[in-house]
Symmetry: C2
Amino acid sequence: MKKILLLILLSSLVISCNTKPEKIESEGLSSEEKIDSTKIKTLFNSALIDGKSYEWLRDLTQNIGGRLSGSPEAAKAVLWGEKLMKEVGLDSVWLQHVMVPHWVRGEKEVATYATNSIQKKVPICALGFSVATPNSGILAEVLEVTSLAEAEALGEKMNGKIVFFNRPFDNTLINTFSAYGGCVDQRVQGAAVCGKFGAKGVIVRSMTNAVDDFPHTGTMSYGDLPQEQHIPTAAISSSAANILSEDLKENPNLKFYFKQSCETLPDAPSFNVVGEIRGTETPQNIFVVGGHLDSWDLGEGAHDDGAGVVQSLEVAYLFKKNNIKPKNTIRIVFFMNEENGTRGAKKYAELAKLNKENHIGGLESDAGGHTPRGFSIDANSVNTKLLQSWKTLLSPYGLHDLDKGGSGADISPLKEENVTLVGYRPDSQRYFDYHHTSRDTFDKVNKRELELGSASMASIVYLMDKYLYNNTLVKL
Amino acid sequence: MKKILLLILLSSLVISCNTKPEKIESEGLSSEEKIDSTKIKTLFNSALIDGKSYEWLRDLTQNIGGRLSGSPEAAKAVLWGEKLMKEVGLDSVWLQHVMVPHWVRGEKEVATYATNSIQKKVPICALGFSVATPNSGILAEVLEVTSLAEAEALGEKMNGKIVFFNRPFDNTLINTFSAYGGCVDQRVQGAAVCGKFGAKGVIVRSMTNAVDDFPHTGTMSYGDLPQEQHIPTAAISSSAANILSEDLKENPNLKFYFKQSCETLPDAPSFNVVGEIRGTETPQNIFVVGGHLDSWDLGEGAHDDGAGVVQSLEVAYLFKKNNIKPKNTIRIVFFMNEENGTRGAKKYAELAKLNKENHIGGLESDAGGHTPRGFSIDANSVNTKLLQSWKTLLSPYGLHDLDKGGSGADISPLKEENVTLVGYRPDSQRYFDYHHTSRDTFDKVNKRELELGSASMASIVYLMDKYLYNNTLVKL
């Protein structure tokens, strides 16, 4: 009787834990696809058992930390990357010199306002490239708008005011990057629009799906405004944005105060870190795999983009560990300055052209270290179609999304009609909880999710290397 | 020139943020599918804008907390659930009385051992239904095994010893529930196997993919062993298991000490919480949606299974909010005692039979609150095929996995040939970082991921209700 109870207990446990024998289906696969399927399984097993990316990321984020272009941390990260690439045993490793913008945040920013005799502190951070406020800060009335057009229409009315851009993310968009794309113009162009009408400053709602107390930094630009129209601009937390908006309804004349001491120093020397595994058949054909080494200064640059950096290197590590010798040259690049200038990407593309290198394709990881969802494809229609035919091989690993789309800011300067670029696309739901904030730290990255990403990337690089002949994907 | 630079900057940002206009493809859909596609989009929009599940979960986990069957917290959770169902405005709400096991942990457990004169503390927790150690604890040599068979083969050699089960998760399995299923026999049956040979106690490596310091509790059973052979059994953290294993190689005679004071009290009264929206056409046909209200005591029962509870109720909330009137009766059930006995599930099925209720289908959410991946289907082949044909409608929301598999421990007692059961399957990668530990807390649940789960569930319930006629899914 008790044995029966035990059996019932166990069977209900088995149901509850949804165990099913996990096997990768090989039915209906061609013999070539079976080989590929086995190789991909090997890459995943290897990443999940012997992966190094998580410990590399720990080292980068916890021992170096945030590494904004031009900072001492960014310089340390370059040496870190060079040393690590050598340790992994790439055939050659070198640095590409590049001058980068050097913006510094200065003292911690302060913002506050009073309403109904209550003084409220506002979580705030300067946006990258913003100028400082005067030493005494700025105090002014606030005009709230939800778009650049609305701001533009205010015209001279904003003279002497602080303009507050408060269009939130569209949370109904399933891909959170689409919501970001729908809001980020406020952050990038807000000050350029308002500076010319004599606004005193700009504050922008943080770029996030969440309502919380963390301000999100990010780059902005004054466009072609003359220096004297450059006004200080900062992000405030989404929660503070909601509260301020409510308070403005009740008290439209409240005065907002903020102070920041950031400045743009002269350009500083820095480097892309480059290493490669030379191709065995057509070494002159280069396939680039990369992420960006720089990060914003508020957090540790864990998801953005420490994850992409260590995953890119893990592609090479997994190839070597499993004795996969690529036909084409696989080049790993840790790009510098993606966050505020993409100077590293431009330099890389410029040198590629100058040296008449033949880039046949590339893969970028710069969308966080979360669980894999797929790749976005920027390629001609023939190559896109063949890439999409690999769905059968990739879907057992959760890689279902193989849609046309952008690849990434660092490899897209390599784009030409016959260059096949792909962007690694992990799940995006949590990404803007951390992006450009003090919360983008190592503890937010899950080891398995990171490793699954490395393996996903290694798998698509394996397939692309195997089937890319010069610039054409060929079905064997 | 600067305007050009700004344009370049913006275009590179746009590339980097991978924005693409998000639209749900309607091309190639039948007119009926277009209606469904629109309805599903409405449900997702509604969950992501007006969803209540996250605040409900905050309340359940932070104001009540862990709620093991028989505990005062479980009793509070029943009242909480009843009140909430009424607030949501279900047509009727009631409690189903059920007697549940009442096991209590007692004082915090202690474990330690010395090796090379170094005293090591071991993170440990008693397993559910385990007996206590003597007041003075247990001190004994340790035999390490990796399977029940290996333990069984030791036979009398384990007399007076502590048996240490140390088979780790197979981390190469992509679905972590498969890895769990491959290990959990050690936890459930370990003590039953070893008690009969006179072992003094059993310690089991925690059920997790991770190597960390958190012991994972969970249910165990002594099977048909006589009382005097019931030996204390506990889980130790995976990190401690690795270290102990190493230490045993060097010092096989080391003595392990542990002490726990748990006990099983007489069965206690408790309840399933049940509420329903009556069907407009065939109210006698019932479709169940549920999760379990009880949880382990160490954490807050956030992912396991507070998430499933609030998502189930949110299905009803979303139906009402969007004026969707189901044809069949949709019954929401907060099951009691899934964790150690599934008495609530059995009672529910027993009453359904007794009252000659006609259950046509069910949906369970008990795999955590992470980002949606799909559903597993436990149905006859005709219904399975039709369910799988909804992939086109569901995949825009990341719901790609529509494989045959178990539904869940709480609804599976309703299983008959013509009852269509599905289990909600979110991403599983992080789940066993938290499962049954002190880390299963509210802060580990992401608002959007939870809401996307509610909407996923509401969508499949909408489809199943629409196309289920009696027990058959009918393509219109």
